[in-house]
C-alpha cells in the first residue's frame, strides 16, 4: 500500500481510487474521519488510519454508518473538516440524518460523505445507485471520472460544503474505487485544528444555535434556493468538460467510469470526428446551461452512466421545460434499452449501444476468441465454488446449526445477515440460510417469525449474525425480541474480526482505528443485560455446539443467544503455527462407498480436502489445509486423524 501522506507535491503516484480520495481529504485539511467498512469504500478510512497519528487527525471505525455521519457532523459543527465514508448500503441507513442536516445546515467547516457504489453487486446485497439521494434531499453531489479527479474533487467539495453551508456527497463506483491509476499529488496543509462549538444567541448570527431543522418548511425553501446558487457555481466547474467535434452526430453525456468507457469506445470505433463527449463531474445540481448549450449542437444524445438512468432522467425532465422553438433531441440510453439499468457498465456495452444508434459495423474480436480464453486456464485453475477459507470457524458453526435443525426436525431455518457468513446461502454453509437482506435484517425478521405461532407457525428460527454486525444493528432487534417474548435463537459468530471487509476494528476488538487500546464491549454482557439466555461455545467442538444449538432451539420460547466464539482463521494463522498434523488413512477412507459417500469432500467441502477420483479416496491439500482438525470429527470412519503438534 502506498504512503498516502507522502510530502511530494507535484510528483506522480500510482494510487487506487480510494487512496486518491483519502489523499484528497488530507490535502483538503480534514481533522476528522469516520466510517463503517463496506466494499468498495473500506480503504478510504483504512489508509487514513495509517497516517492519522502523524497528521494529527482523528480517525474512527464507528459502530455503524449512522453514528459515523453524526460524529462527523459534530466535528463540522465544532469547526473541523470531516470526512465520512460508507458504501451505498450505509448511505441508505443514514438517510434520516441527511434529511435533517440538509435543513439545519452544517458548522463552519465542511463535511463530505464519500459513498462507494457497487454496480453488479460484486460484494453487496444490492446495487443501489446513490445519486438520486442528492436530488431528493438537495445535497450537492460529485462523481470522479478518473483517479486524479478522485483526489482533486475532495478539496473542491469541501469548498462547496463551506461556501454554501451544506453537507456534500462524493459518489464513486467499484471500478474507480478499486482500480489503480496515476495521480499528481498536491500539498497537504499543516493545520492546527481548533474545535469549539460556538453558541450564538443572536438569531442574526452567521450560524445561530441551536443547529436545528425547524421551522422545517421555511428551511426547506432555503434548501432549494441554496441549490440554485450551487448550480450557478457548477456551470463553470472544470470537472465538467466537453471533447469532440463542434457539431457531433452523437453526443454522449456521461459521468464517473462511463467517462473512461466512452473514451475507449470512441477510440475503438475511430469516431472522434463524429462523436462528442460531455463529461460531467458535478451531478447535482446539474449545470443546466452547459448541458443546454451542448444539446443544441447535436440531434442524437446517448447517456452513458453506471446503474440507474439518473442523468438520463433528470436531463430529459429538464428539456421538457424548453420552449417549443428549442431544438428537440433524440435521446438514447436505458429507456430505449440500448443499455441496461442493472449490472456494471463495460466498454463493450458502451460500444454496442453506440454502434446501434449510429448504425456502425464493429466486430471487437474474432468469433473464436471466447473459446480460446476459456481454453487457456484449463488444468491450471482449480474449479472451486464460493466458499469459506480452509479452517474458517463459520463452516463448523453452520455444520452444527445444520445438524441441530435437522435433528429437531421441524423445518427450522436460518435468517441470514451481512458478512462472510452470507455464503451460507450456498454450499459453503450447507444451504442453511434462507433469507438474505441488509445488515441487521436477519434478527429483525426472526423477531417477526417468532411471533407467528398464533397462526400455526412452528418452525424454529435461527438468526445468524457476525460480531461486527451484532454491534452495528442487532442490539435493538434483540431488545425487541426479549421485550416482546419473540421466539427465536440468535447465533453470533464471534470471530473477533470484521473479516469480509479487511479486519477493521469493531467495538468488541482490542484496538481503535488509531491503533490505541479500545474499551472492549462484551457482547455476552450486553445480551445478558437485555435479559436473554446466553450460551457460549467453540464451533470447533462440533458435539457441544450442536447440543447447545439444539437445546436453545428446543427451548422454543423467548429470544435466546448462542455465541460461537473462535478467532477468524486468517487472523489466527498470522500469530500461531498449525495446531495439528493432519493425516488420512486410505485404508479406512470409505470414499464413495455406502456408509460415507464422500461426506468430507461432497458435503463438508473444506477446500483443504481433495477428492482423488482415481484412487477413490480423500487427500489433504497440504498447501492450504490450516490443520483446524474439524474434518477429523466429521469423518464417520475415523480415517482423518489429527495429532497435536507440541
Amino acid at each position: 500500500m502506498p504512503n498516502i501522506d507522502m510530502d511530494a507535491p507535484g510528483s506522480n503516484q500510482l494510487f487506487i481510487g480510494n487512496e486518491a480520495m483519502a489523499r484528497g481529504a488530507l490535502e483538503a485539511g480534514i481533522g476528522f474521519a469516520s466510517a463503517y467498512p463496506g466494499t468498495p469504500s473500506s480503504e478510504i478510512l483504512g489508509s487514513l488510519s495509517e497516517v492519522a497519528k502523524k497528521r494529527d487527525i482523528y480517525v474512527e471505525w464507528s459502530v455503524n454508518e449512522k453514528v459515523a455521519i453524526e460524529a462527523g457532523a459534530a466535528a463540522s459543527f465544532a469547526g473541523v473538516r470531516a470526512l465520512v465514508a460508507m458504501k451505498m448500503n450505509g448511505l441508505n441507513t443514514v438517510i434520516d440524518f441527511l434529511s435533517t442536516i440538509t435543513l439545519s445546515g452544517i458548522g463552519k467547516k465542511g463535511i463530505v460523505v464519500m459513498v462507494g457504489d457497487d454496480p453488479s453487486a460484486h460484494s453487496s446485497s444490492n446495487e443501489t445507485d446513490s445519486r438520486p439521494v442528492s436530488k431528493w434531499l438537495d445535497i450537492p453531489l460529485v462523481e470522479p471520472g478518473d483517479f486524479q479527479e478522485a483526489k482533486d474533487m475532495m478539496p473542491f467539495l469541501y469548498g462547496i460544503s463551506e461556501e454554501f453551508g451544506t453537507i456534500s456527497i462524493m459518489r464513486s463506483v467499484t471500478r474507480i474505487a478499486h482500480a489503480r491509476g496515476n495521480i499528481k499529488l498536491g500539498e497537504i496543509p499543516k493545520i492546527a485544528h481548533k474545535a469549539r462549538f460556538e453558541q450564538y444567541l443572536d438569531p442574526a448570527a452567521p450560524m445561530p444555535t441551536p443547529i436545528m431543522c425547524v421551522p422545517s418548511s421555511f428551511r426547506h425553501m432555503f434548501q432549494h434556493m441554496r441549490m440554485d446558487k450551487v448550480r450557478e457555481k457548477f456551470e463553470s466547474c472544470s470537472f465538467n468538460r466537453y471533447v469532440g467535434p463542434d457539431k457531433p452526430d452523437l453526443l454522449i453525456i456521461t459521468a464517473g467510469s462511463g467517462w473512461l468507457y466512452s473514451q475507449d469506445a470512441v477510440n475503438a470505433l475511430k469516431a472522434e470526428n463524429r462523436i462528442g463527449i460531455l463529461k460531467l463531474g458535478t451531478l447535482w445540481p446539474l449545470p443546466e446551461k452547459l448541458i443546454k448549450t451542448h444539446l443544441s449542437k447535436a440531434d442524437k444524445v446517448i447517456f452513458i452512466e453506471e446503474t440507474d438512468p439518473f442523468l438520463e432522467g433528470v436531463i430529459m425532465e429538464y428539456t421538457a421545460g424548453f420552449s417549443p422553438e428549442s431544438k428537440r433531441n433524440l435521446f438514447y440510453g436505458k429507456h430505449t434499452r440500448h443499455l441496461n439499468s442493472f449490472g456494471e457498465l463495460t466498454p463493450d456495452a458502451v460500444i454496442k449501444a453506440i454502434t446501434s444508434v449510429l448504425d456502425i459495423k464493429y466486430a471487437p474480436r474474432d468469433a473464436e476468441y471466447m473459446k480460446k480464453v476459456e481454453a487457456v486456464p484449463q488444468g491450471h485453475v482449480m474449479d472451486r465454488l464460493l466458499t469459506f477459507c480452509p479452517g474458517c470457524p463459520h463452516r463448523a458453526s453452520f455444520w452444527a446449526i445444520k445438524n441441530a435443525l435437522a435433528m429437531d426436525g421441524r423445518n427450522g431455518f436460518v435468517t441470514g445477515d451481512i458478512g462472510c457468513y452470507t455464503m451460507a446461502l450456498g454450499p459453503a454453509g450447507f444451504f442453511q440460510t434462507r433469507t438474505h437482506q441488509c445488515m441487521g435484517a436477519g434478527a429483525g425478521l426472526a423477531n417477526g417469525f417468532g411471533q407467528l405461532s398464533r397462526f400455526g407457525f412452528n418452525q424454529p428460527v435461527v438468526s445468524v449474525v457476525g460480531d461486527s454486525t451484532f454491534y452495528h444493528s442487532i442490539i435493538p432487534a434483540l431488545v425487541n425480541g426479549v421485550h416482546n417474548h419473540s421466539n427465536f435463537t440468535l447465533v453470533i459468530l464471534d470471530n473477533g474480526a470484521t473479516a469480509m471487509t479487511g479486519f477493521q476494528p469493531h467495538p468488541g476488538t482490542e484496538l481503535t482505528a488509531m491503533g490505541e487500546p479500545a474499551a472492549q464491549i462484551s457482547m455476552e454482557n450486553i445480551c445478558r443485560a437485555i435479559g436473554a439466555r446466553v450460551e457460549i461455545c467453540d464451533p470447533f467442538d462440533l458435539k457441544d455446539t450442536t447440543r447447545t444449538i439444539l437445546d436453545l432451539v428446543e427451548q422454543d420460547q423467548g429470544a435466546r443467544v448462542a455465541i460461537m466464539r473462535r478467532t477468524c482463521e486468517l487472523v489466527r494463522q498470522k500469530k500461531e503455527k498449525k495446531p495439528y498434523k493432519m493425516q488420512i488413512d486410505p485404508d479406512k477412507c470409505l470414499g464413495e462407498d455406502c456408509g460415507c459417500n464422500r461426506l468430507c469432500t461432497r458435503v463438508f467441502r473444506c477446500p483443504g480436502l481433495i477428492w482423488d477420483a482415481a484412487a477413490g479416496k480423500t487427500r489433504i491439500d497440504e498447501v492450504i489445509c490450516t490443520a483446524c482438525g474439524v474434518c477429523a470429527d466429521i469423518c464417520p470412519e475415523g480415517a482423518i486423524t489429527k495429532e497435536a503438534i507440541a
Binding site: K402, N403, M407, D408, G409, D593, C594, G595, N597, L599
Partner: protein, 379 residues
C-alpha cells in the same frame, strides 16, 4: 410392489415421511447422513447414492420372507402362526434377583448372562432407558450390565443402531435382543451382508421379544410428561389380558391408565406388521397369560436349543411345559396379527396385488385376507 434397492431419499419419501418407519435402527449407526433423535429418524444431509444399506435393510422396504426364512431357518416361509419352532416352553430365571429386576420371568437376562459367562458371546446388544425414558441400544459385556437392560417400556427404539455402531473390524461375538421388526431387518442384513459394517457372522445369538405394537416415543413422552413424572417412573407394564391396563410403577405405587387410551400413541407402522413372535430369531419370548412371573419361550434354531439346554442343565433357567390352552391362545393372537396386517396393507394400497413391502406367497396372502379378525386387541 417395489423390489429394487434405492437410496436415502427414497427411504424418506417412501417409508419415513409416510409414517411407515419402525425406528428399528437398521439405517442408523454406521451412516453419517442419518441419525436417531428423540424417537425419530432424521436426515442430516442428502446422500446421493442410488443404492444404500439404509433402504436395503429397512423392514418396510421389500422383504422376501422366503429368502429370510431360508437364511435363518433353512426353509421357506410357511406362514405358520408363530413361525418356525423347535420347542415351546415356559421358563423363568433360576436366580430370584434377576427375576426381581426383570419385566416378567427374567429369561432374557438369564440367557444372555449365561452366554456371556460361557463365552458363547463376548458382548450383548440390548436396550436401556435414557434419562428421558427413551430406550436406546447399548452394549453389555457382563451379567451386571445385562441387568441394566432388563425391563421394557414398550416404546420403539433403534436397537440396530448399536449393532451398526460396532467397529467394522470388531471380532466380538455378539448376542442381540430384538423386536420382530428389528429381527426382520437383522435377517435382511444376514441375507445380504453389508460390506463396510461389522460382520454379520459375529452375531451368534438373537433373542426376540413378542410384540403386538410399540409406542411412538415423541407422542407418548408428551403423555408421560403431562400425566406422570418421567423421572420417578421405575417400571412400565402392560399386564396380560384381560387386564387392559397400562401401569406405571412409581416407587412402590402403581398408576394405571386404560390401555385403549394408550393405544393412541402406537406407531402407525405397527398396523402393517405380521410378526408377533419375532419369528426370525434363535429364541423368542414374552409373558404367559394368566401365570405371573414366567415367560413363554419359543426355541427356533439349534443355537437356541443349545443355550436353553445349557441353561436348564446349570439351573440358570427353571423350565416347565407351557399349558396347551396358552399355546392355542398364543397362536390365535399371532394369526390375528398376521391377518390384520395384510388386510390393513391392502386397505392402504387399495390393491390386493400390492402388499407394500411384504413378499409372501399368493397362497398365504389369500389365507390371511380371508381370515376373519375380531375388533381391536393385543398386548
Amino acid at each position: 410392489m417395489v423390489t429394487k434397492t434405492k437410496g436415502i431419499g427414497d427411504l424418506f419419501k417412501e417409508i419415513i415421511d409416510k409414517g411407515l418407519c419402525t425406528v428399528c435402527g437398521a439405517c442408523v449407526g454406521d451412516c453419517p447422513y442419518v441419525v436417531f433423535y428423540r424417537g425419530k429418524i432424521r436426515m442430516l444431509d442428502f446422500c446421493n447414492r442410488t443404492e444404500g444399506h439404509c433402504y436395503e435393510y429397512c423392514p418396510r422396504t421389500f422383504t422376501d420372507l422366503d429368502a429370510i426364512s431360508n437364511k435363518i431357518h433353512g426353509t421357506s416361509y410357511t406362514g405358520d402362526e408363530i413361525g418356525t419352532v423347535k420347542e415351546v416352553l415356559m421358563a423363568r430365571a433360576g436366580d430370584s434377583k434377576t427375576r426381581a429386576k426383570a419385566q416378567y420371568g427374567g429369561t432374557v437376562s438369564a440367557l444372555l448372562s449365561l452366554a456371556l459367562d460361557n463365552g458363547v458371546i463376548d458382548a450383548a446388544i440390548l436396550s436401556k432407558n435414557t434419562d428421558d425414558k427413551l430406550p436406546s441400544g447399548f452394549v453389555a459385556r457382563s451379567s451386571a450390565q445385562v441387568l441394566e437392560g432388563a425391563g421394557s417400556n414398550y416404546m420403539a427404539y433403534p436397537a440396530l443402531e448399536a449393532l451398526n455402531g460396532m467397529p467394522r473390524d470388531s471380532k466380538d461375538r455378539l448376542g442381540i435382543v430384538v423386536t420382530p421388526c428389528q429381527a426382520i431387518a437383522l435377517a435382511k442384513m444376514k441375507v445380504s451382508p453389508p460390506s463396510q459394517r461389522v460382520s454379520m457372522e459375529n452375531v451368534r445369538l438373537s433373542i426376540g421379544l413378542f410384540c403386538t405394537w410399540a409406542l411412538a416415543y415423541d407422542r407418548f413422552f408428551e403423555f408421560i410428561k403431562n400425566n406422570v413424572s418421567p423421572a420417578k417412573i421405575k417400571k412400565f407394564d402392560i399386564p396380560p389380558p384381560p387386564a387392559n391396563r397400562f401401569d406405571f410403577y412409581i416407587g412402590k405405587e402403581v398408576e394405571s391408565f386404560p390401555l385403549d387410551g394408550i393405544r393412541n400413541y402406537r406407531m402407525s407402522t405397527c398396523a402393517y406388521c405380521l410378526d408377533m413372535t419375532a419369528e426370525f430369531t434363535d429364541i423368542s419370548l414374552g409373558s404367559v397369560e394368566g401365570i405371573e412371573g414366567w415367560n413363554t419361550v419359543i426355541v427356533r434354531t439349534q443355537q437356541g436349543m443349545d443355550i436353553v439346554e445349557e441353561a436348564k442343565k446349570k439351573g440358570v433357567l427353571e423350565i416347565k411345559e407351557l399349558p396347551a390352552q396358552n399355546l392355542v391362545h398364543l397362536k390365535d393372537a399371532a394369526l390375528i396379527k398376521k391377518a390384520r396386517a395384510v388386510q390393513a396393507i391392502v386397505e392402504r394400497t387399495g390393491d390386493k396385488n400390492d402388499l407394500m413391502y411384504l413378499g409372501i406367497s399368493d397362497n398365504l396372502k389369500g389365507k390371511l385376507l380371508s381370515h376373519r379378525v375380531t375388533a381391536q386387541g393385543g398386548h
